[in-house]
Each structure stands twice: as structure tokens, then as C-alpha cells.
């Protein structure tokens, strides 16, 4: 499969459907019924299946489905050097660990490259690696050292910056930073953008920031309008904003025009908080609305957020609809 992307390339935001059997096995691991070695082998098999599903559905940019992650925080909290974790604090795998930073974060590897390499080995498609952003992590890891959240987030950004550069050296071309908590804490946005800029400094990849209204347990954490992002977000040194529009409607698309936003748009066209499967025509209609605001060359077609909480068959059908709907518009554009 060639690495050249078509116009309006398609991708999922990050996570793929978490199978029920994998949930049970994760819980078995926490209950000490299976070993870490067995769990890692299970993860390898699950990631391969998620990659294959995306390819079969016709997705252009592939992720590893984030199936090794219990949730969007713990995978990073466990790897951040200097973060202390109470491993008895979790009842279900999806719960957040009780984690805390008690001293300055040392600059050390988080070991994310290994998971990217695995993905890279098993797909010839373009691959995207997703990381949870520092702002989100500071909301879940208790700060017992830094004077404020911003200082803590900046140090996370410095550590993760090294990791992103390592990912680029390993061949990562697309990196996505997930910052869902912006929508719950819009007052943090100004320093949040500074943190993002620290995080991506010198990282030579196509960087997108995914900002949604939360997807914990497949439910929104907040409601509102993306208007809060503007104009502050315009200072972010990233290439793309990835936003949810399928569930919330496309009203906020006009903000891109109103503020002459320099970013490409990751257009959410699939509602991941609802098991109803979109039709290709519905997807096409979302894309046409976005084309009123931005040229096709600046738009990627995505799910609203991760598919973690959807059943696998529903996720696959939604991806197919996304691909078919995109094809309709490509045809209309003569591409």
C-alpha cells in the first residue's frame, strides 16, 4: 500500500473498539490470574486485529487502536518518570490509578517508541501515534511538588517532547495530542497553549491537537461551544485541530472562517457516543459543510473521538460508512 495519501484522508481519532474479552483479560491481569507476559502477547494479537480491521475498512491513516492502554491517563502516568502510582487503587482496569508527582520530573524515556514500532511493523499504511496531552495529565495526576498546574504541565511537556522526537526518529509522520480537558477548564487555555508549544518544539511531524468534550465511558464530560478556543488557540504551533462535529452538529465550523484559523481541520464525522451507524450520505453531508469553510486539501476525515466504548462490529460499520461517505465527496470533487 503506497504511503501517498488521497485527498480527504480518513482515520480514527485514536482508540479502536475495546473487545469485551480483552476487558475481562485486563481485569484478570489486575486480579493476578494471568501474567504480564501473557497480557503482552494478548495485546500484540489485539493490536494486529485492530490494524487489520482499519485496513479492511479502507482507513488511510492507521493507529494501534490504543488497546494496550487502560484509559487515556494511566498508560502515560505509569511511564512518566517520577510519577508515583498506588497500584492497589484500581478496582476495574478502566478506573484511573491514584497517581501523584512528588518531586521534579526527571528527563528520561517513556518507552512509547516500542509501541509505535510494533504498529509500524504491522502496517504499510501511514501510521499515527496518539499521546495524551500534558494539560489532561495534570488534571488526573495529583500535583504534590510543583507550585501550580502550569509548571507541572510544562515539565511533562519537556519530558514528552523528547519522546515525540524519538517517535519521529522511529518514523512517525503523524502525531496527535489529546487535550479533552480544555473544554472543561477553558480558563486554562492560555497556559495550555504555551505547554503545547513546548511539547511540539522541534518535533518534525504533522502534529494535530484533538479537543473534544470528553469521552469517558463513551459519554461527554461537558457541553458547550468551541468558541472558547478562539482566538487563544491560534497561538498553538500545530498543524491541525481535530474536533468533534458529528454529535454536536457543524455550527462551530464557522469559527475557522471567522478567525481565519491557520490550521488544517480534523473533521469528526462519526458520533462515537451512539451505536447508531451513520450512512455514507450523512458522512458526505458533514464533509460538504466543512468544504464551505476550508479547501479539501486542509481537511482530514475522522471519528469524533476514540471508538474505545463502541462494540467492535459497530465501530467497523461506522468506519466503513466514513470511508464510503468520503469516497462520495472525493468523486464529487473529481479526485
Amino acid at each position: 500500500m503506497p504511503m501517498t495519501l488521497p485527498i480527504l484522508p480518513t482515520a480514527i481519532v485514536g482508540s479502536y473498539a475495546m473487545p469485551g474479552w480483552l476487558e475481562r483479560l485486563k481485569t484478570d491481569y489486575f486480579a493476578r490470574r494471568i501474567s504480564r507476559h501473557d497480557l503482552d502477547e494478548i495485546y500484540d494479537a489485539a493490536v494486529k486485529a485492530a490494524v487489520k480491521d482499519q485496513e479492511s475498512a479502507g482507513i488511510d491513516i492507521i493507529t494501534d487502536g490504543e488497546l494496550r492502554r487502560d484509559n487515556m491517563v494511566d498508560y502515560f502516568a505509569e511511564r512518566l518518570p517520577g510519577v508515583q502510582i498506588d497500584r492497589s487503587s484500581k478496582k476495574f482496569y478502566y478506573d484511573f490509578y491514584d497517581s501523584a508527582v512528588v518531586s521534579k520530573l526527571p528527563m528520561a524515556s517513556m518507552g512509547l517508541v516500542q509501541d509505535f514500532n510494533f504498529l509500524h511493523t504491522y502496517t504499510e499504511h501511514a501510521a499515527k501515534f496518539c499521546v495524551t496531552g500534558p494539560h489532561c495529565l495534570t488534571k488526573r495526576i495529583r500535583n504534590q511538588f510543583y507550585p501550580n498546574e502550569e509548571a507541572f504541565a510544562l515539565d511533562i511537556a519537556r519530558v514528552m517532547n523528547l519522546e515525540l522526537k524519538a517517535l519521529v526518529r522511529a518514523g512517525a509522520k503523524f502525531i496527535q495530542i489529546d487535550e479533552p480537558y480544555y473544554s472543561g477548564f477553558p480558563e486554562d487555555l492560555a497556559w495550555g497553549v504555551n505547554v503545547i508549544n513546548t511539547l511540539v518544539e522541534g518535533v518534525d511531524a504533522k502534529i494535530s491537537v484533538h479537543i473534544c468534550y470528553g469521552n469517558r465511558y463513551g459519554k461527554p464530560s461537558w457541553e458547550g461551544s468551541y468558541r472558547y478556543l478562539f482566538p487563544t488557540i491560534l497561538k498553538a504551533k500545530v498543524h491541525q485541530l481535530t474536533l468533534e462535529f458529528a454529535r454536536r452538529g457543524g455550527e462551530d465550523l464557522d469559527l475557522f472562517k471567522e478567525f481565519n484559523a491557520p490550521f488544517d481541520l480534523g473533521l469528526g464525522v462519526i458520533d462515537v457516543k451512539n451505536t447508531d451507524i451513520e450512512t455514507p450520505d450523512m458522512v458526505a453531508e458533514h464533509i460538504r459543510k466543512a468544504l464551505d469553510v476550508l479547501p479539501a486539501e486542509r481537511i482530514q476525515i475522522l471519528t469524533d473521538c476514540g471508538c474505545f466504548h463502541l462494540p467492535r462490529d459497530v465501530t467497523f460499520a461506522k468506519m466503513k460508512a466514513m470511508v464510503e461517505g468520503t469516497k462520495i465527496v472525493r468523486k464529487e470533487l473529481g479526485k
Binding site: Y213, G214, R216, Y217, K219, P220, S221, W222, E223
Partner: protein
């Protein structure tokens, strides 16, 4: 033999010695062998509901999935009904009946053994709500009067006032963060006469005015009920606030089916005494195995004779007349007065016999939505090893199919009779019982809580502090991170 004493009532304690004597007498008289004696579990209980589905002494045989008897035999003795003079004979009769598994000539079964959820007793329950006015006319008192305390806890003025104040605080907090939606959606499921809604809107209007928050006009209060008649009857109660009210016919077991367009948009959901009246089923854990409780409704032959005699129904036609009434009403009785009288006597006589069927293929069991074998096994890890509990299937499905309606900052409150900890099931009998012509069960709140946690919600139980000596508690739910 294991002897379990649930309630420490004086009468129950007095019965204990007589029960032991009666069981030993059966052994001495060679009416029970040592093996049967050894695996017998006798439970003495004070049945909360005076009106219920049990004989004074009942015995329940366990079966494997394909019908062979399992070495399980439970005996339940209702210490409130038991007659000590006949205990020996009652016990012998109950044990013989359960052990033989044969058709009982002293009973008229109304159905085959099946899940409680699909039993005819729920048809009686629906029939009651459909013919509530006729029942009330016959008894001369409204259904509310049959409730403990003589009225619905949902109408308690202090409870409503506290809720309105808390809700307005929430709205103000959201507004301060610029996150208050244009429409403030509130939902009540099971609206009765509409008086709680009217009270709530009166108080909201008043408090909104006093605080100068100006939010009343943004309130959309959805009154949801399965009965259009009920919704129509509720309209006069809320006439003052009619612009704020929306009337929605919905199935309490599946609210989101009718309200899907409000997914994630409702800031408050309220229910009072709805869950305790939704179809239920029960499971028993014994010796490390799970058994499903199958029931069969029956009418004792003595009641068939006496009721049939009074209403001119021969025994061989009795069952048909019961079904005919449940399907077609009271026409065949020459009018409601006679029919309601028959219905009331019949309902008082209806009993449930039970058997336990081992759940050998748990993953294939038709669990209510939100629950599966893995989750149940996980939940039971912290539960007592030998106990009987409600699945609360109807309540669980209703709950799981209502939660997605909640706005991220919204909450759901349910006033009902909840078992809040699985261990509580060791302390007594929690239904089913009869309340007027309806059926009610305590709700397995502990199970609802565990399932909801796995769906991303926090559940806690607040005492209902507005009425002394009440069994009502408040299940309070919010989204969790």
C-alpha cells in the same frame, strides 16, 4: 441442617425451638432421612408484607439444568403466618411436595414454572393499574393511602423544596461557567396525578424569582408515563405551568426509546416508587453454584372452591375465567362491581410456588441489559457466599436506559425501597409482596450501583430524612470520571 434466623422478632425466636422439634420429629418418625436432614436449609423470616405470595411453610427443591434434582432443599417459614400447632404437618407436606416434584392436587396452577419476570402475577399487576379506578371505588380509598405513610414520598414538600434548591444551585454553577444549556430539561417518570411536578414547578418559580436567577422560562419539564390517561389526568395539576411542561408517553423500562433526542441533555431525572413495581427475577447462590428461581402462580383448591362457589364458577372453568378477566375485564361478571370483588378475592388467594434451577450455562443466560455473566461473577466476589438476591431486571433495564439521557452535569434521583448492600439480603425477606392489587419488590440497589459504576456513573444512597421510620431511600446518580 442449617437454620437461618433473619429477623430477631420475639415471635420468630419463639418459633425456633418448635421448628427444630418438628424437623427432628420427622427424622425420628423416618419421614426424613439423614441425608436430606443434613442438606436442609431452614430459613425463619418475618415477612414484611402481610399480603404476599407464600404459604406459612414452603419448601423449594433445587434442580440441575436438565431436570435432575440437585441436592438443595430450602425451607422458608413465615413466622408471621405460621401456626405452631400444625407446623409438623405443614412441614411434612411442604417437604413431600417439593421432593416429589409431582403435580399437587390441592392447588390449581395458573401457569407453568418460569421466571418471575414472565409470570402471570405481572399481568395481574398491569391489570391493577389499568383498572385502578375500579379498585379504588371498591375499597373506597386511593392507592396512595395503601402506601406506608399514606402518601407518596415523592410529594413530600420538604423533599421537593430541597431538590429545587439543589437544582437551582447546580444551574447557577453551570451558568457561571457558561455551560448552562439554553433549555433546562427535567424529566419525571411515573407522574401519578402530576402533583409532584406542580409542586416542583411552583417552588422553582418562587425560588427563581426570589434569587433573581431568571431561569424559570428556560425549564422544560418532561412528564413521562406509559399511560396517556395518566398524562391527561396530570394536565390540570400543572395548568399554571403548562408552557413549561411536555407530556411524553413512554415505557418506564425503556425511556430512551421515546426520548432519544434528549440524549445527554437532561439535567435532572426523578422517579418515585416506579422501580419497586417493575418485573423482577431472583437468583440464589448456594454452595458455590448459582440457581435461578422459577415460579408458578397457583390458587389453593380451597380458595378455588370458595371463590368459585360465590361467583358461580365451576373449578374446571376457574382458570379460564381468570385469564378471561385479565384479558377482557369484568364483562363476564355482569359489571365491574361483581368483577372487582372476584378480582380482589382471587388476588388475595394467589400464591407462588418455587423451584431452583441451576445456571449451568451462565454466559447464555438472558441477563437484563447492562449485566452479563462476567459482570455478575465479578460483582458477586464481594457478596455473601450463600444467599438469595433480586436481579431487579426491570429496574436495572430502566436505569441503564435512562442514564444516557443525563447531561454531563446532570443527576438522577430515585425514591424507592432499596437493598443497598448485597449482605443485606441475609437479614430478611425483600419481596415480592402485594400492595393493594399491585406487586412490589425491594430493588437491588447494590446491583444497580455496581452496574452503573461500570457504565461510568457514581451511585450513592441517601436516607430519606423527611419521614420517620421509612424504608424509602434515595438513589442519587451522577456521571463519574
Amino acid at each position: 441442617m442449617i437454620l437461618k434466623l433473619n429477623h430477631l422478632k420475639v415471635k420468630a425466636a419463639a418459633t425456633t425451638q418448635r421448628v427444630i422439634e418438628a424437623v427432628y420429629a420427622l427424622v425420628e418418625e423416618d419421614l426424613m432421612d439423614q441425608g436430606q436432614f443434613a442438606r436442609l436449609q431452614v430459613e425463619l423470616d418475618w415477612i414484611q408484607y402481610k399480603s404476599n405470595f407464600r404459604e406459612a411453610v414452603t419448601a423449594t427443591q433445587g434442580y440441575k439444568a436438565f431436570g435432575q434434582p440437585a441436592p438443595i432443599m430450602d425451607v422458608h417459614i413465615d413466622t408471621r403466618q405460621v401456626v405452631l400447632e400444625t407446623l409438623h404437618d405443614d412441614l411434612l407436606r411442604a417437604l413431600s411436595r417439593a421432593k416429589s416434584g409431582s403435580e399437587e392436587s390441592s392447588r390449581l396452577p395458573l401457569e407453568e414454572f418460569q421466571s418471575l419476570r414472565s409470570s402471570i402475577v405481572w399481568t395481574f399487576n398491569r391489570f391493577f393499574w389499568r383498572h385502578l379506578l375500579a379498585w379504588e371505588a371498591a375499597t373506597g380509598k386511593s392507592y396512595d393511602k395503601a402506601l406506608p405513610g399514606g402518601s407518596s414520598d415523592g410529594h413530600n414538600p420538604l423533599a421537593v423544596a430541597d431538590d429545587v434548591a439543589e437544582f437551582l444551585d447546580l444551574l447557577c454553577a453551570l451558568q457561571a461557567r457558561n455551560q448552562l444549556p439554553a433549555e433546562v430539561n427535567v424529566l419525571e417518570i411515573g407522574v401519578g396525578s402530576g402533583s409532584r411536578c406542580a409542586q416542583w414547578l411552583d417552588l422553582f418559580h418562587q425560588l427563581d424569582h426570589e434569587r433573581g436567577t431568571g431561569l424559570y422560562s428556560r425549564v422544560c419539564f418532561y412528564l413521562g408515563d406509559y399511560s396517556l390517561d395518566t398524562l391527561n389526568k396530570a394536565k390540570p395539576s400543572v395548568a399554571k405551568h403548562i408552557d413549561q411542561c411536555r407530556f411524553i408517553q413512554l415505557d418506564a423500562i425503556n425511556p430512551i426509546k421515546s426520548l432519544g433526542y434528549l440524549r445527554h441533555k437532561i439535567l435532572q431525572v426523578h422517579l418515585t416508587n416506579v422501580y419497586d413495581n417493575l418485573p423482577d427475577e431472583e437468583v440464589v447462590r448456594r454452595d458455590g453454584k448459582l440457581y435461578f428461581v422459577q415460579v408458578r402462580a397457583y390458587v389453593p383448591n380451597a380458595a378455588v372452591s370458595s371463590i368459585g362457589g360465590k361467583y358461580g364458577i365451576p373449578p374446571e372453568l376457574f382458570r379460564d375465567r381468570v385469564y378471561h378477566m385479565l384479558e377482557s375485564g369484568f364483562d363476564s361478571f355482569g359489571g365491574p362491581e361483581h368483577g372487582v370483588s372476584f378480582w380482589q378475592e382471587l388476588w388475595a388467594a394467589v400464591r407462588l410456588e418455587e423451584r431452583l434451577v441451576q445456571l449451568e450455562d451462565l454466559p447464555e443466560f438472558p441477563f437484563p441489559e447492562g449485566l452479563d455473566a462476567g459482570k455478575l461473577e465479578d460483582i458477586l466476589q464481594d457478596a455473601p457466599t450463600d444467599f438469595r438476591f433480586h436481579l431487579s431486571s426491570g429496574a436495572l433495564e430502566s436505569f441503564i436506559r435512562t442514564l444516557p439521557l443525563l447531561h454531563p452535569s446532570g443527576y438522577m434521583q430515585v425514591f424507592d425501597i432499596f437493598v443497598t448492600d448485597m449482605a443485606q439480603y441475609r437479614t430478611g425477606f425483600f419481596g415480592p409482596g402485594k400492595l393493594d392489587g399491585s406487586l412490589l419488590n425491594w430493588v437491588n440497589g447494590a446491583l444497580l450501583k455496581e452496574v452503573a459504576q461500570r457504565e461510568g456513573y457514581n451511585v450513592n444512597f441517601r436516607p430519606f430524612k423527611y419521614r420517620a421510620n421509612t424504608h424509602t431511600s434515595i438513589l442519587y446518580t451522577t456521571r463519574r470520571e
